[in-house]
């Protein structure tokens, strides 16, 4: 056995659980990430519209006189005037010239302030960007100011602390984590219970099988879902045929044991008779032969099927052909004249092993007892297939014909040396409710004619 063979495959429940334990959390994490992303961008767009409002505010308060720009601090919202309030405003002119900065912005680092007018925005465009180092959002809005003195290009920048966004994100993440973990747990639990419920028929099947194993039941008794019922039905059929087979074996074993008792008794007795070695040997030899025949006969009966007539027919001609070919080989020492008249349409409605055993015995006899001529005829006769095996040997005397075909003739009452082939053949024929007749053949020897349930062979599709 290789390693892969010896490894126990994972249970269905294990497979499903493992799969959902991996996939469910993965899906939930992905959903969580998507939610975070969506929430974050909605926060940022709120931030942008706040900043835009403040830009408009600054624009509203702006006054330009003689190329100078003034902003009365009183009209502004208090955040612009309070140092470090988290809201800062800047107005740059062309050539990066700083026109104005809010009172709140005085503590901001100069490097940041110098970087502000680098934007390449066109008038009317606006931009919100995040400056993570300074923890600020920067909103920039370029305008063209028209006055009597001419046009003036201005860039209005509003900086807002990202504090509120960060804290909102943090609160949201925590809440989301809680909810999603809960959902994940509930989904896994639900999955587990669904699985238990779904696989319950299999547990039931296991219990049912155990009951059969323990001998408490003969078959799977419960009703199963459609998907399982097919399996249980065939299991039931298997169990049933197994049971019948076992019964047949038990009967055969019983018959065997009983029929062996007689020759054993003879051998026992022979030891006490005070015979000379040669007679003793002969007696033992005879009984051994008798026992051998009994064993062979019972063995043949044990492997034989029940003789169930099948709906499907089995072509007889190929079986006859195969047998004739091998017989020719076995009996090659005597030249043979073999004639086979085989209807290729003729089919036997039964088991191939039975047919081969039956015909094997009949054809073997014809080769063995014939003087060189053998004829096999296979033909259909209504619902029957008729097989005729004839030879040119000594034949069977009319008085003997009844004897050799007597049904139920016990084999252990036969004289030593008699073959068991016919007894087996007869057994097979009668198990199919067929008929076996012996007559004289026109070749001069015996003619065995068998009728068995049959029918035309369906042409191969």
């Amino acid at each position: 056995m290789t390693d892969t063979d010896s490894r126990v495959p994972l249970s269905l429940r294990g497979r499903l659980l493992r799969a959902s334990a991996v996939i469910l959390p993965l899906v939930i994490v992905l959903a969580g990430l998507a939610l975070l992303k969506a929430f974050h961008s909605s926060l940022e767009s709120a931030e942008a519209s706040q900043a835009r409002l403040q830009v408009y505010l600054l624009l509203g308060a702006l006054e330009v006189e003689d190329g100078r720009l003034t902003l009365p601090s009183t009209v502004l919202e208090p955040g612009f005037n309070r140092p470090n309030s988290g809201v800062y405003g800047f107005i740059h002119g062309e050539d990066r010239r700083l026109f104005w900065r809010s009172g709140s912005s005085l503590a901001l680092p100069d490097t940041l302030v110098q970087r502000l007018p680098s934007s390449l925005l066109k008038p009317g465009q606006s931009l919100l960007s995040h400056l993570p180092e300074q923890q600020l959002y920067l909103f920039q809005y370029p305008v063209i100011w028209e006055s009597a003195a001419g046009e003036m290009r201005l860039l209005i920048s509003v900086l807002r602390s990202d504090e509120s966004v960060r804290s909102a994100m943090k609160a949201f993440s925590l809440q989301l984590l809680g909810w999603l973990s809960g959902i994940c747990l509930v989904a896994l639990l639900a999955q587990y219970f669904i699985m238990r419920w779904g696989l319950r028929p299999l547990d039931l099947l296991t219990r049912d099988l155990k009951r059969i194993e323990d001998g408490e039941s003969d078959q799977l008794e419960h009703q199963y879902p459609v998907e399982v019922q097919g399996v249980t039905d065939s299991l039931n059929r298997l169990i049933e045929s197994e049971r019948k087979q076992r019964e047949r074996y038990r009967n055969t074993l019983g018959d065997l044991a009983h029929s062996l008792k007689t020759p054993l008794a003879v051998i026992h007795g022979a030891g006490d008779e005070g015979l000379d070695f040669d007679s003793y040997r002969q007696q033992v030899e005879e009984q051994a032969q008798r026992m051998q025949q009994i064993v062979q006969y019972q063995l043949a009966r044990a492997v034989k099927t029940e003789g169930r007539t099948l709906a499907q027919t089995l072509p007889v001609a190929p079986v006859v052909d195969r047998l004739l070919r091998v017989m020719e080989k076995v009996y090659a020492r005597q030249p043979k004249d073999i004639e086979a008249v085989l209807d290729p349409e003729a089919g036997f409605a039964g088991d191939e092993r039975d047919l081969m055993e039956l015909l094997g015995n009949l054809i073997d006899n014809a080769f063995k007892y014939g003087d060189g001529r053998v004829r096999v005829v296979v033909e259909l006769a209504g619902p029957l297939v008729q097989i005729e095996v004839s030879d040119d040997g000594r034949g069977v005397a009319p008085r003997q014909r009844q004897v050799i075909l007597q049904r139920g003739a016990r084999l252990d009452t036969q004289a030593p040396g008699q073959g068991i082939g016919l007894a087996v053949a007869l057994d097979i024929v009668s198990s199919y409710d067929g008929a076996l007749e012996v007559s004289e053949s026109d070749l001069g020897g015996a003619c065995f004619r068998v009728s068995l349930p049959g029918g035309p062979v369906m042409p191969a599709v």
Binding site: A300, L323, R325, R333, E357, G360
Partner: protein
């Protein structure tokens, strides 16, 4: 005759070996199909007895493989089940005859005898060459009806030469097929047998049944009566 026994049951194998050796066969034996395949490739046998039910490589596979390799050694299969399905399987695999267990030694020997004869083209158990007759069943040699008394080795040498009549048999082949391996393979011994055989079969030297082919071996030179 050189026979190969392929049977996994050690007791039965020993019995077969004993019975066949008593009848003058030289025996090679094995219980494994794999080994049987090897033997079949490496050595030449006059007959092989193969049990169908071998472990690992089945007897059927052994025979099929032999036949596929062009090995035409006559094969007798032994079947335990003895039903026709089994027998047909054995014969279709390439065996020449079957025997169901249990069997009598006498029946086995008769079947083997017949197979060996058949392989050499003789149907009858009695080989007739001119005035000489050799009955393979009774192991008796007669000349014009009168029995010629031969030792076991002389008989076997003559039987082998007759079964291969017309063919030149080398000394090595004769030794190989006739004598047990532990036997002294000195070719002088063979020459002594042949000389005695000639004297017994043909004291007046009128028949000259066995011809020495110089440097090659011996040839049985009488005409087969059956063919004449």
């Amino acid at each position: 005759m050189k026979a190969l026994i392929v049977e996994d049951d050690a007791d039965l194998r020993r019995q077969l070996k004993l019975q066949l050796e008593q009848r003058g066969y030289t025996i090679e034996e094995t219980g494994s199909g794999r080994e049987a395949l090897y033997f079949g490739q490496e050595y030449e046998y006059d007959i092989a007895i193969v049990d169908i039910g071998l472990p690992e490589v089945s007897g059927l596979d052994v025979i099929r493989q032999w036949r596929a390799e062009g090995n035409t050694v006559p094969v007798l299969v032994l079947t335990a089940r003895g039903d026709w399905q089994d027998k047909v399987a054995g014969l279709e695999a390439g065996a020449d005859d079957y025997l169901a267990k249990p069997f009598h030694a006498e029946e086995l020997l008769a079947r083997l005898n017949a197979l060996v004869r058949r392989a050499s083209g003789h149907a009858s158990p009695v080989l007739k060459f001119g005035p000489l007759e050799l009955d393979t069943a009774a192991r008796v040699v007669t000349r014009e009806g009168g029995e010629v008394r031969l030792t076991s080795y002389e008989y076997r040498t003559l039987e082998y030469l007759m079964l291969n009549a017309g063919k030149t048999i080398s000394k090595a082949e004769l030794t190989e097929h006739l004598y047990h391996q532990d036997y002294d393979r000195d070719s002088n011994v063979l020459e002594v047998f042949i000389r005695r055989l000639r004297q017994k079969l043909d004291p007046e030297q009128s028949l000259q049944p066995i011809i020495t082919v110089r440097g090659l071996g011996y040839r049985f030179a009488l005409e087969d009566v059956r063919q004449a």
